[in-house]
Symmetry: C2
Subunit: 313 residues, 2 copies
């Protein structure tokens, strides 16, 4: 298996990215398309895939796909693996849409007090980050619309949780009474970030009584002319990110791996610094490294059709 | 003063209500209009008021107005009174728009860690409730789009805080990813309340790690078929109300006064019962009682124009 190139694909809700990766993990070529799963009709996944990546898989290369392509609304549902889970568990539960050629990486689930949580795609990023940083144990955060906090012990994801932080920010920014106070009513036209206001927001969240209450201060600080209008979006961002961090039981001196888009991870780094938590940053490439690592756990001979018969009777 | 009838008016953001009240506090007549301050252009407050209540004030009766009519966007800004504040403070800071005839009751402000909080109208409801229940000390909650928690000691409001609970529910219900999971996309068409699902939501909020995380369980419980779709709005309501209660430092055996619209106060009562907190309910009429009480603190002779000259030089 590892002698062949790997077609690594990250097929999310709103985007489709792919990389051709050689046996040593080098990225030979990358492509991206505005073909997230929401744009693809049921039954259209195979032709979309062939148009985007058919030339890469033609020579007999394996393709591994992570992300929402494995959801009910995706190409083929890949049932969640229950945590704790590592590379090997995921490799043993690949959902083969074309035996020996194309497989979907399952997401993970966790269950606490009868309430489940789920991820699809982030598990692959995490496994890639562990390889890149050579870590066996870690606490990681993947900020975003729905942030994920992930605990890894002995190379396995033992626990994780989802935080709707980015979505709450957008809801408050665009649709709440606060939108009347804030400078514009769209995310795209936010004024330049204000690190001081962001810090104030984080600090208020950390000492505050919860976002239902602290969010209202965005309005009252403006009402009493205690904060400039252009600073309010950064303050609100500090409130929601601070609220997320407050719940993570972080101690001064802890270390956290922060992964994702740079503007957002920079904000998390600033907020974590306020808590005295040190940060390791992982850039792009974690998904490709993760998919390569999963591929490397597969048998070297072409026995995927056997795996298919076992896991999808 | 108390020998005359009182024209008591509650002029809020979206509604205008009035009552004619005799010297003994009896409501002689009530009226309501869809003329919240958002529907009234600047400069149009006097004619709207005259059309709605002119006949009541003509015989020389005093009129007291509480609510958002005293905000910057209202008839005339009535500067906030700082807490702690009682009847007498509010009476001393009435904003007279027509000396001796029409005055606006100021709202209250409180300041903690440099962050202000405000209310307009609720202070009058609270003072009315204290009269109705004959209480000098109390903890009160006024549920709503923006719930208020109020602490009263020796007849004075010493502290309060705003919770955007109703608004967060509406945002999540209508505009978030959860809206795709919930049965309909409008508040008006919610299925019948499900007390069991509501209780589960409260319980999850009370043990949970904050709404940014617990809100996501509305989606995952549905994804794993652990809760019927029609039960999800009640569950989400339980999550947000439970989140609000979690932050109030309530102890088993505490007593709380719950004021407001009956459907909503019933939910708060159920949630407070889960915490072992007992409830006193106050129905409509608290605002009228509060305005009557404020009027009764005024000098009996017509000296309002003097007060006007002192407080608005």
């Amino acid at each position: 298996m590892s002698g062949r190139n790997l077609v690594a694909v990250d097929w999310g809700t709103s985007s489709l990215r792919g990389a051709l990766i050689d046996a040593d993990g080098r990225v030979l070529e990358e492509r991206s398309f505005a073909r997230g799963i929401l744009t693809v009709a049921a039954g259209e996944f195979p032709p979309v895939f062939e148009r985007c990546f058919g030339d890469w898989t033609a020579p007999g290369n394996l393709c591994l796909i992570s992300g929402m392509a494995g959801s009910k609304q995706g190409w083929r549902e890949a049932p969640y693996c229950a945590c704790p889970a590592g590379f090997d568990d995921i490799a043993a539960h690949l959902e083969w849409v074309e035996p020996g050629r194309i497989a979907i990486v399952p997401g993970l689930s966790v269950d606490k007090d009868g309430v489940p949580d789920v991820m699809r795609g982030e598990e692959t990023q995490v496994f890639g980050a562990l390889q890149l940083l050579e870590l066996a144990n870690a606490r990681l955060v993947l900020p975003g619309t729905h942030s994920k906090w992930v605990t890894v012990a002995k190379h396995r994801i033992t626990d994780f949780s989802t935080w709707m932080t980015g979505e709450f920010y957008a809801l408050l920014r665009q649709h709440s009474i606060l939108a009347r106070t804030l400078p514009n009513n769209t995310n795209d036209s936010d004024p330049a970030p204000d690190p001081g206001a962001f810090e104030q927001g984080v600090a208020h969240a950390l000492r505050g009584q919860g976002l239902l209450h602290t969010a209202f201060s965005t309005r009252t600080l403006s009402l009493f002319n205690r904060m400039a209008t252009d600073a309010l979006p950064s303050y609100l961002s500090g409130l929601v990110i601070g609220e997320e961090l407050k719940s993570q039981s972080l101690q001064r001196g802890d270390a956290v791996v922060v992964m994702g888009e740079e503007t957002l991870t920079a904000r998390y780094e600033q907020a974590l610094a306020q808590l005295g938590v040190s940060v390791q940053r992982v850039g792009a490439g974690a998904t490709w490294r993760g998919l390569r690592a999963i591929a490397d756990t597969l048998p070297r001979t072409g026995s995927q059709s056997t795996i298919h018969r076992i896991t999808a009777p």
